[in-house]
Subunit: 203 residues, 2 copies
DNA sequence: ACGATACGAGACGGATCCGTATCGTAAGCG
DNA sequence: CGCTTACGATACGGATCCGTCTCGTATCGT
């Protein structure tokens, strides 16, 4: 957590920072966001209370709410899953399944919603979220699509960017703005096959 | 604004409610949300200040923030555009163009983001937003798709629900969670044609 | 004209949060 | 051991908002 920044200044003597407190604070923020609190209504006081921690323990680590949120996002950084199935179609289904499962995880979907609404007016935070969480998955998907184009499974005359959107967009819009019931089981296959085959009747 | 509720009680004598104040208040809320304020951070005091109105004038009309927000949403209720072009493809492009233009209107996209993140934990408000803003457009789209199925322009073996998602999802995910640059001019056609033709090479 | 109600402005006590400071205690290092 | 820093708790003055209330004025029906 802001390691380099503080390591220069902090003396090595005395009682060391508690890693448990770090976890408690970040966990508290996630819990509050999950609960639908919203960044604007997040208070350091409330976070410390939820974490069972003194306010000073928060301020000792982060100068303010935005910096804390940056580290909350970094804490979510999981590498995107390796996909290399028997076919491009299989890989696409796999990627969408990952999104679907993430969409079901209240934590992630609440976080995404929060990021989108709050960070619209905080470009620096959005940039960080994008770089941390979104970009890697996006590039995994694009790699699969390029492989599909190379192997003849995917049309070569469409922009990879657009192709990615066609596959991911339907899943995201379902997860984000439809009723928040669980996304049905076979949805990933339906989307992948629908986009692959197209909406027009074939031959 | 909550007409029926108050009309019963309010006497007809005395100075009437100012419609200008209604508009000022609702406009103020929209302006604040546009600015990225976030429902959690919205205060009646701030709204009244932004509207150039006394707090009592707000409380005279609405008992609280949630009820005010309901009327803000109702104020946005425009009937979805009539579409009946020369082809189903044309209608689909038209519908997506409408979404794209709305996505460009800061007002609407900021509002949608806000609704999504806040109303996740306020099902009643979401329900209202859904019924007011989303459902009509959704049914317009589904009607076009059903017409396409009937006329043979659209595959008959796919769920209309899923088909709609395939067309609308990509536009929404672009408007909602990618960089907030303007959506490019030809995007609607690209999406419609991409989904119609499919991602797999033909013939 | 007159009575009734709405208006903008703002005072009010209570609540919450801000960021800082000060407790007594805990936990490392030499 | 003694030194140093972190810990949870809590107090502090200042800020903002809550929802209600009271001003003096404005604008309607009668």
């Amino acid at each position: 957590m802001t390691e380099e920044g503080t390591a220069v200044v902090r003396a090595v003597r005395g009682r060391p920072r508690s890693a448990a407190a770090d976890r408690a604070i970040i966990g508290a923020v996630l819990r509050l966001l999950e609960r639908g609190i919203g960044v604007g209504a997040l208070s350091i006081e409330g976070i410390a209370r939820e974490a069972g921690v003194g306010k000073a323990t928060v301020y000792r680590r982060w100068p303010g709410k935005d910096e804390l949120l940056l580290d909350v996002m970094r804490a979510l950084d999981e590498p995107p899953p390796e996909v290399r199935g028997r076919s491009v179609r299989e890989d696409l289904v796999e990627i969408l399944e990952g999104l679907r499962r993430k969409g079901l995880a209240k934590r992630d979907s609440a976080l995404l919603r929060t990021m989108m609404s709050h960070f619209h007016s905080h470009p620096r935070l959005w940039q960080e979220y994008h770089d941390t969480v979104i970009r890697a998955r996006r590039e995994t998907l694009h790699a699969v699509l390029r492989r599909g184009v190379a192997e003849g499974e995917i049309r070569a005359d469409l922009d990879v960017e657009l192709l990615g959107e066609l596959f991911v967009g339907p899943m995201l819009s379902r997860a984000l703005l439809h009723e928040w019931r669980e996304l049905p089981e076979g949805l990933s296959e339906q989307i992948v096959d629908g986009v692959l085959d197209g909406a027009r009747p074939r031959g």
